[in-house]
Amino acid sequence: MSELRYELNAPDVVEESIDGEALIVNLRTGLYYSARGSGDLLWQMVLAGYTPAEAAAAISCSDRPADTVATDVARFVEELVAEELVRPRAARAVQRIEARPVAAFEIPVLERFADLQDLLVLDPVHDVTEEGWPHARPDLPPRSLP
């Protein structure tokens, strides 16, 4: 995995980085994610075509052994793949990211939010009343109104 390159899993996934934080929305699953600090930088590197190994090497870090950083980066990218936010691509890096030197490397964290998934789960034929979406049938478990 450390030598693979990835790209955004569009059009199911949309993303925007702002103020050092990436917001990633999976429109198919209804899950959304946040990655801050080192996670935001790595997210941008992955989208730019860096392999996990290249990304780890590009992050200069004064207080953490290189192999530990590589392990953290690989795990983070594995999580991106498992959540289907990125997919493999064949092309080489298309863009170089300014490798912001990280004085104190933070273990990259992908925060995952599932609180809006209810907006996607109703089945229009079987789970709703004659009034239509989003009126859940009364015999189904309660869901919050959108």
Partner: protein, 366 residues
């Protein structure tokens, strides 16, 4: 209907177009059966929109939420967008099966960021009925089975699929949020359902603010960014209605509050407070704290975008890929704050007016 010059046609595109033509023909049959087409002109976000109803059955349920945006100068010749609407029960015309399988239309209407085709469709999402839009002719069609049982979501503001698709191609983005202020500027209040958007918007309305909307607004990026009004309505969960005694007698669906949010058609009661557009000066993300003072705390742009974008994108149908970028543009251009809602709802308007640096208009109004 000929394809626009320069736009490639595909077999799928031709099938979509054929379904649209069948749907449009059914509308015309419904109008003929009902004896008339009822036109209603609107100005939404500076765009001229003409609603055309097949007979008088459906318009009483759908038009009131748009009353504040009426523009009787709009004609078929001057309309930027035309929306044809009909129901089967009042016209006696069924939805023809040639429009295609409604479950597949539902799937097509799920959130998506694929490039928009020329013909778009959605069933029971985000509106309760069936929607189609032909971008080449700037014509949308909306159908529900029975006007008399129009769902409360439609009565508080409908045509969300058609309007969001069409407006997106004209630089305007549907956003899930409330907006209040006055013509000099105001705030966009964002967050998922239950976060306090409606409570904030209605408490400000009652204190003398002008009101753009409490659930959906139309964002036009720019300097300054603006929000435009879509629906002159408000919705409150039943347990929150008692917090607004001035509104309690105005709820339009009092017998159904066990299964529906209470709907208020503000254009009928407070037309002078409904405003069509507002420059955005800040984004507020309410959080129900429950005790202590109501106060504002600075919030990062990223947190504001997280409160705004996912709930917008996941409630709508297919969106253009730039939808998220438009919302990001907004939070980059104006400051964001967390609005911590304390124990007194009356404190909310003062906190917002202090942010805007303007005197509380409630002191000068009845």
């Amino acid at each position: 209907m000929p394809a626009r010059a320069g736009v490639a046609t595909t077999a799928a595109g031709e099938a979509d177009q054929a379904q649209f033509e069948v749907f449009l023909s059914a509308f015309h049959r419904a109008a003929e059966a009902a004896g008339a087409i009822i036109p209603v002109g609107l100005c939404i976000g500076g765009k001229r929109v003409l609603l055309r109803f097949a007979g008088p059955g459906l318009s009483p349920y759908l038009v009131p939420a748009f009353r504040h945006l009426r523009d009787d100068s709009v004609t078929p010749e001057t309309a930027d967008l035309t929306i044809c609407a009909w129901d089967s029960a009042s016209t006696g015309v069924s939805l023809p099966p040639e429009v295609g399988d409604l479950v597949s239309h539902h799937r097509r209407g799920m959130p998506d960021s694929r490039p928009l085709g020329r013909v778009l469709s959605a069933y029971r999402r985000p509106d309760p009925g069936f929607s189609m839009l032909d971008l080449d002719s700037d014509t949308g069609i909306y159908w529900i089975p029975n006007a008399a049982s129009t769902p409360y979501e439609d009565r508080s503001g409908t045509f969300r699929a058609i309007l969001s698709w069409w407006m997106a191609t004209h630089g305007r983005q549907f956003v899930h949020g409330a907006a209040i202020g006055d013509a000099r500027g105001g705030v966009l209040v964002v967050g998922k359902s239950g976060s306090g958007k409606s409570t904030t918007a209605l408490s400000c309305l009652m204190a003398g603010f002008d009101y753009v909307g409490d659930d959906y607004c139309l964002l036009e990026p720019g300097v300054p960014p603006c929000v435009h009004s879509l629906f002159g309505s408000a919705k409150l969960h039943a347990h929150n209605i008692d917090r607004f005694p001035q509104l309690a007698g105005l709820v339009t669906n009092p017998a159904r509050l066990d299964i529906e949010k209470g709907v208020f058609l503000l254009g009928d009661h407070l037309p002078e407070r409904l405003i069509s557009s507002l420059p955005v000066r800040a984004v507020l993300v309410p959080a129900v704290v429950g005790d202590g003072p109501t106060e504002l705390r600075p919030l990062s742009s990223a947190r504001a975008l997280a409160a705004l974008a996912p709930s917008t994108l996941l409630q709508l149908s297919a969106t253009r890929h730039e939808a998220l970028a438009r919302m990001a543009s907004l939070v980059r251009s104006v400051p964001a704050f967390e609005l911590r809602l304390g124990e007194n709802i009356e404190d909310i308007p003062g906190a917002v007016w202090a942010l805007l640096g303007q005197p509380d208009p409630g002191q000068n109004r009845d």
